[in-house]
Symmetry: C2
Subunit: 345 residues, 2 copies
């Protein structure tokens, strides 16, 4: 029985809790895996810890109704108000689910959470990009030294296995190039611009649909895709690529004229993240590229994401799927948990 502590109880944390609630019995029957949430610690919503396991149905109901965990009922074991570090160190959880609001530019507080957890001999699963993009080498070595696992499938393409698939199922290939559409918001906007919208109209619509944030910088300037291509390069290609090594152009300069021109050439604009090994040198970029309509990435629709792996033996293999979503990202944490239990990558 894996004992979980959730740091953060927002959309993703609640998504995982809902999945566990709905599928616990099925998961046990199919894979042997059993998990229970013993602690939740959220900066805004409060903190509860029951060493015997929390009543997750109740916690979800209460947080949805009141916005906090304050009304979660007391019992003789219940401890409140542990902060995130106390939750890591002082609870009986063996696995930390790191889903805090983390500043992607600094990777904090998630990086410190990882370090504390590894030092305490606890596994970590997370969907925060920052720590993996900024501190992959240090943190993965730390996890190894402490004999624990660090799962982060959800940092790239959510529950679509952009990291696990190449590591488990393409091992032994030399992956010469990875090319991807790793940001759904800009992919949606480019498609709407093909349908006649201006950049501003497309952005406004993406914001209204909840795809783009009020400050869309991270999406439209390509920063989000840049973090993800760094994660792919470092984990799948075994390079040591830093965020600043990646040249980065967003879609803000794309005009209706560019869109029309591409169409007349049988091409379309996509925001392409790319990393390539050439004679031992690694080159990476995020930029709008005009690609042929028959290119495997040309038909990636709406907010879908896709990634192609150019392999010396297996050929070019492309994976596409949702790049975001409550259940999808919740699932990315679950598959990390399951494969820690199964002792698989």
């Amino acid at each position: 029985m894996q004992k979980l502590a959730l740091l953060g109880f927002g959309t993703v944390g609640q998504g995982l809790a809902e999945i566990l609630l709905a599928k616990q019995d099925l998961l046990k029957a199919e894979t042997g895996w059993e998990g229970k949430i013993v602690a939740i610690s959220d900066v805004m919503k409060g903190s509860i810890y029951d060493p015997d396991g929390l009543d997750i149905e109740k916690a979800l109901q209460i947080v949805k109704k009141t916005g906090t965990l304050d009304d979660y009922p007391d019992n003789e074991r219940l401890i409140r108000d542990l902060d995130s570090f106390e939750t890591i160190e002082q609870t009986n959880a063996d696995t930390i689910v790191e889903v805090t609001f983390t500043d992607v530019k600094t990777g904090q507080p998630a990086i410190e959470h990882c370090k504390t957890a590894f030092a305490s001999g606890k596994h970590v699963v997370m969907s925060n990009k920052g720590p993996v993009a900024l501190a992959y080498k240090e943190l993965s070595e730390l996890a190894k030294q402490n004999g624990v696992r660090w799962g982060f499938e959800g940092t790239v393409m959510s529950g679509t296995p952009a990291l696990r698939m190449p590591l488990t199922a393409l091992a032994g290939n030399e992956i010469k190039e990875i090319t991807g559409i790793l940001n759904g918001t800009t992919n949606y906007m480019l498609l709407r611009m093909e349908e006649g919208l201006s950049y501003e109209e497309a952005l406004k619509e993406a914001q209204e649909l909840g795809y783009a944030e009020a400050d869309p910088t991270s999406d439209v300037e390509g920063f989000d895709a840049r973090y993800k291509i760094v994660i792919l390069a470092n984990t799948v290609m075994n390079t040591v690529l830093k965020v600043d090594d990646v040249s980065c152009d967003g879609i803000t300069q794309i005009t209706p004229y560019d869109i029309k021109k591409a169409k007349t050439l049988g091409k379309r604009w996509k925001l392409i993240a790319r990393v390539r090994k050439e004679d031992g040198v690694v080159k990476a970029s995020v930029q709008p590229e005009m690609i042929d309509e028959t290119h495997p990435l040309a038909q990636v629709q709406g907010v879908l994401n896709a990634v192609s792996f150019n392999c010396d033996l297996a050929g070019t293999i492309t994976l596409s799927g949702p790049g975001a979503g409550r259940l999808e990202t919740g699932y990315s944490l679950l598959i990390d948990l399951l494969n820690i239990y199964r002792n698989h990558l």
Copy 2:
């Protein structure tokens, strides 16, 4: 050090041998895996066994030059002329690479090879569809009982991980439907018909390019795709589907008129293999379907294959890649070997 015996030394067996020869050191450095081929037994080309390991470079040179293994040099350990069953039972190989010419309708001799190997406590990896499509339940239980592994990634989409990806990276999902383009020959023919060729012209071209065999029945009638959807259903969806349970229509009835009609509707014809679970009932079919041009499978080009998994948590995830090829299928055997060594699925 894994000791391999190759049953069959045609395109696929030679492909694997070439990969091992070229990448042995790299594979050892990256994964720890080491393998050597101790025996090759081929009905037409002859049979050689050296308990210390064969000189694979020499064996490849000789078979390419002379068509047989007769000129492979003698040494004090070399034993010739073991048949396939003797090779399984009497050599020191711990893993059997089953790449014989096997009748897909009966699954023989591969099924008997599997049974003999499992009873001898030996792993089997293979790319022959027949045994998996016809005897999955029996053979997988037999392997389990004998504490050995049975790998067959290459039976569906060659080295593209259509089986391993869902098993390792989508576990915990309920997969409600699998939809695929699982036959490259017919996909190529349909695309050429869109470009104006008649069915007969498209078939002739596919034969000239080596995509279709002299007797194209298995491809154009959908039988090849049917075996593959049965394998996907039984291994990934955990159903007990038989080949005869799958309704099957090929592409022989598609006319230029059908092709034109689809185009005017913004659709295109694809030979779709499909299996779906509805209220516990499994329904499967192979048939030409007119799908929308924006459908994830609509843009699968040339002889590529693709498969979509409709998951309750992770969403619809699509994988595309080569469905055939010397190195690609050789690789499918390698990844099975690697993951036996790593004790991964």
